[in-house]
Amino acid sequence: MFSWTTFWESFIPLLWAARFTVLVSGLGIVLGLGIGALICAGALSPWKPMRIFAALWVSFLRGVPLLVQLLLVYFLLPVIGINVPALVAAVGTVAICASAYISEIWRGAINALPRGQTEAAKAIGMAPLSQWTRIILPQAITMSLPALINELILLVKASSLVSVVGILEITRASQAQAATTFRPLEVYLAAACIYLAINLCLAGVGRWLEHRMAV
């Protein structure tokens, strides 16, 4: 019934495709964290236009499926004369989409921070940038690490959607593999194993950080 040969043989093409999963989601995570922090700062800023911008950002990017966003970037931008290479489109879209979710997670954690924490920083005349990097984010990140890792793991998995712009990552490769072997169960199981390996690394980093940052 279950074909172990297919299962094991699937690893070669899938691991090869995993390069792109790691590349797209890795770059997407790094950029997404940065943009997410900016959007979060915007959402909490005292300046109303900034808050509205952040709210629209989050609402649009969470409202429209990543797949549609990718299609828009890759297929609609050319219509108005902007042609982006597939890999750039993939990384950019994934990062921007992730930033919306990440900023919301941080906003929640920051809401739970006692107000006195920033007041103490303000009272000594600390600049907003320092307040963010030294007081707010370190505490918010520690507090929200599990939720953040959740999001990053989702991101790794969501990166499978970039196959629509022609990037052969794990999920796409496994579909192709399933179609030639006609053994989707075995192939998807192998794909799941590779995803699991990548995500275990992320979870491990998360655990380690949690441990380190605990006081």
Partner: protein, 220 residues
Amino acid sequence: MMNDLLAHYGPFLLRGFGMTVLCWLLGTVGGMALGLAIALIQRYSIAPVRWVLRIYIEAIRGTPFLAQLFLLYYGGPMFGLRLDPIPAGLLGLSVYSSPYFAEIFRSAFGAVPIGQIEAARAIGMSEPSIVRRILLPLGLVSALPAMVNFSIVLTKETVILSIITVPELMYQVQRMSAETFRYVEANLALALFFWGLVELISRLGRRFETRITKHLIERT
């Protein structure tokens, strides 16, 4: 042309949307309940149990929903587990989302100042009461945006249920675009329905959030 399309596929799309909302709702509620149970057991139980739950969390969280659902629905019968599409879909969604919710709850509990829990312990409050009256309401402040986030992600994961022939929105949309090649209209409908649902969820989330944070503006 457009009218014909609407007349013919409109009811299917609506029914599909209804199924999507239903699956999302039940899946989310199931996942939250399971996740809360996991987070609480982790908090209050002995190390071996915690390890087992840890493995469960990482295994489910680390693998794609597509693969899990495939395994459950098409692989299940190999092990004597034969489910109909909708029960399989709901079970799949709940199990898939549970580790995410568990982690969100865990981080929420961690954000509650220990002093507030000690104050409750000191008067002899039972742990269930502490969870209900102190841990959850206070933890929710930091967890709510993350929970709304993930619920929104889940709306989109429901489209995967189409692979096990649950007649949800994606299933109907695929059918419409395959039959008519009107993929623009079909996908527009898909996007609009989802945006509507997501807007609704985030609005409700925001409203609930302002309610629970209103009184927390702390003074020194």
